[in-house]
């Protein structure tokens, strides 16, 4: 068991700065998600932690020890790659056994550990197959088993669900989370999918253009985004941002409701013209404009489908409102102003 810390990590590829001074600590047993759009540097950061890339500057500490010069095998990490990186010429059994063989573990011990990992991930019936004979979900589990047998101090997962279809992804997500809770090993998980991040992470680190924007629990990140980038990156549809003396005012679409639904409490009223509606089964998304206020993009409202429309129609003005407690203020630089 161990903690991993990145201290002021910077990585440059020629003129491009992929990682720009990121400091981050992963606590023992924690599931930390690195979330950001493609090309934001999250995978590069993970590869630096793994030892597959050298940082231009900064330090990686595992258990308080600087491991910058240690090769990947000496860092006690295990990594699951986006396309799993299974050895195509080896059977499932030998794929799982490979990291143990490189460490010179006795063959009886290898056998025992491989059987244990295969049973834990429910792939023991596949042990004589080759990777090409496996489905996407099975491959992912083999990759996890291979990572697990080494009993690593930290798991690094690089978008391991992105190659699965949508249905499988949902079940694999909960399996993976359960698995992590069973083994209780510190885990760093890279994804660009906010649903994965929100659903799995104990904490989320949001990264954009190589810079760390915010670290916090899913609730903190969603409820109190540190800046406009985080506010608009999380949530579907993202937070509404409207201009307000220099800075901006933000509120979530699900907090933006017809006035009559928000009785009594301190609210901010905003006349809203619905331009179009989307019915999504469990909810309705209303797209429109606000009267007298400039918005950074189209304003949206998310209503549960069971809320009656009460004659609301496209093209007409309606009285909408937000509870004052749901309003977020951002300054000129886009950072949240805490009241």
């Amino acid at each position: 068991m161990a903690s991993v810390a990145a201290s002021n990590i910077t990585k440059r590829f020629g003129p491009v700065t992929a990682v720009d001074g990121i400091s981050l600590t992963v606590r023992d047993g924690e599931f930390l998600v690195l979330l950001g759009p493609s090309g934001c540097g999250k995978t590069t950061l993970l590869r630096i932690i793994a030892g597959l890339e050298m940082p231009t500057s900064g330090q990686i500490l595992i258990d308080g020890e600087v491991v910058n010069d240690a090769p990947p095998r000496a860092r006690g990490i295990a990594m699951v790659f986006q396309s799993y990186g299974l050895y195509p010429h080896l059977t499932v059994r030998n794929n799982i056994a490979f990291p143990l063989k490189t460490q010179g573990v006795a063959s009886a011990e290898i056998k025992r550990k491989v059987a244990w990992a295969a049973r834990l991930l429910d792939i023991d019936h596949l042990s004589e197959r080759r990777p090409r004979q496996l489905s996407g979900g099975e491959r992912q589990r083999v990759a996890l088993a291979r990572a697990l047998v080494r009993e690593p101090t930290v798991f690094l997962l690089d978008e391991p669900l992105s190659n699965l279809d949508a249905k499988l992804r949902a079940s694999a997500r909960s399996e993976l989370k359960q698995f992590q809770q069973t083994v209780r090993t510190a885990t760093i998980y890279v994804t660009h999918d906010q649903v994965e991040a929100m659903g799995m992470g104990d904490r989320i680190a949001v990264i954009d253009r190589g810079k760390l924007r915010q670290v916090g629990t899913p609730t903190e990140i969603y409820e109190h985004p540190a800046d406009e980038f985080v506010a608009s990156f999380l949530g579907t549809p993202p937070m509404n941002l409207i201009e307000r003396d220099g800075g901006s005012l933000g509120f979530r679409p699900e907090a933006f409701l017809p006035r009559e639904l928000l009785n009594g409490s301190a609210v901010m009223e905003m006349p809203f013209r619905v331009d179009r509606m989307e019915y999504l089964g469990s909810e309705r998304i209303l797209y429109g404009t606000l009267q007298g206020r400039a918005a950074k993009r189209e304003v949206t409202a998310k209503l549960p489908a069971h809320v009656p429309l009460n004659g609301m129609s496209c093209g007409a003005w309606h009285e909408f409102a937000v509870r004052e407690s749901e309003l977020r203020l951002f300054d000129q630089q886009g950072c949240q102003v805490r009241s």
């Binding site: 990594m79 790659f81 986006q82 990186g85 490189t102």
Partner: protein, 309 residues
């Protein structure tokens, strides 16, 4: 009750042009290939089969049937047996040297360094240079008086200045010489094949091996080589077939000499069948290639099939 109505499928209109008809255009497209194989492969092959059991020479072009006596003549010949051994030494030697050097060069050329593009282009040169021209250069390097190889060996102290190695004058040295020249010609092929193989190994797999603790040797011989084995296999079989039937280097460098010491099946068949005009015996020598090539081709097709899965 629901009824399902099926639309009457409209009859396909007859194509307007003859060339729009699949049954016409198909055979038309495939015909050149079939004619090519029939005229330039099948016909000479059956002609060789026929010559091999006849007494056909260019001085007496008779198709008199003589049974298997030509085969017995050839097999009894000391020169032929020597040639057969030479052919194997030449083929296997050239493959081993060519592919080994190719692998190391490919590994070097995979690394990033200034001038890599130029180096890659230069490596392909032995392939691009006409064989006659290249062999002429090699002939001078092996020359009994002016050999740059001897000079180098003397300069680095590996050879006594008194001993003049007769590269093309001694049977074993001459055999080594033709094998090395042919390996030099094969080498770019090996480089290209290995570079193609190395780039086809997914980066994730290599990274996984690194994280799993595999060092340089383990990564190379337990991960990369098994993954690219089917590609290398194809290169090996191709190289073997081409070398087995090749006579250009031997013919240009030594003409099979000294005293038939470097004769290979191709050059011997050419000498007997064409230069000496004994077509029947030349055909027999050529046909000795056939069983070996058949095995090689079957192996090639199997390797290709394995690659597809």
């Amino acid at each position: 009750m629901a009824t399902i109505t099926t639309d009457v499928i409209p009859r396909r209109r007859k194509p307007r042009y003859l060339l729009d008809r699949v049954d016409v255009i198909g055979p038309l497209f495939i015909a050149p290939a079939i004619i090519y194989v029939l005229v330039l492969v099948a016909l000479p092959f059956f002609l060789a089969l026929y010559y091999s059991v006849s007494a056909f020479t260019i001085f007496d072009p008779s198709y008199r049937f003589v049974g298997f006596s030509n085969f017995l003549d050839v097999m009894k010949s000391e020169i032929f047996r020597r040639t057969l051994i030479n052919t194997f030494v030449f083929t296997i030697g050239a493959q081993v040297i060519g592919l080994l050097l190719g692998k190391f060069a490919a590994m070097l050329l995979m690394k990033e360094f200034p001038g890599r593009g130029l180096a890659r282009a230069l490596v392909v040169l032995p392939w691009a240079v006409p064989v006659s021209l290249a062999t002429l250069a090699w002939q001078w390097m092996f020359d009994s008086l002016y050999s740059v190889i001897n000079w180098t060996l003397v300069a680095v102290g590996l050879l006594n200045p008194e001993t003049h190695l007769q590269w093309l004058g001694q049977q074993d040295l001459a055999m080594l010489a033709v094998t090395v020249v042919h390996a030099w010609r094969l080498f770019p092929f090996g480089v290209v094949i290995f570079i193609a193989g190395f780039t086809s190994v997914p980066k994730d797999v290599l990274d996984a091996a690194t994280v799993d603790g595999a060092g340089f040797w383990r990564r190379n011989y337990q991960i990369i080589l098994p993954i690219i084995a089917p590609i290398v296999m194809i290169a090996l079989i191709f190289g073997t077939v081409f070398t087995f039937t090749d006579l250009s280097v031997v013919y240009l460098l030594t003409k099979g000499g000294p005293m038939n010491g470097t004769q290979v099946l191709g050059s011997l068949a050419f000498q007997v069948g064409i230069m000496s005009g004994d077509v029947a015996h030349g055909a027999v020598i050529c046909l000795f290639l056939f069983p070996f090539l058949l095995i090689a081709v079957v192996a090639l097709l199997r390797a290709l099939r394995r690659r597809e899965i």
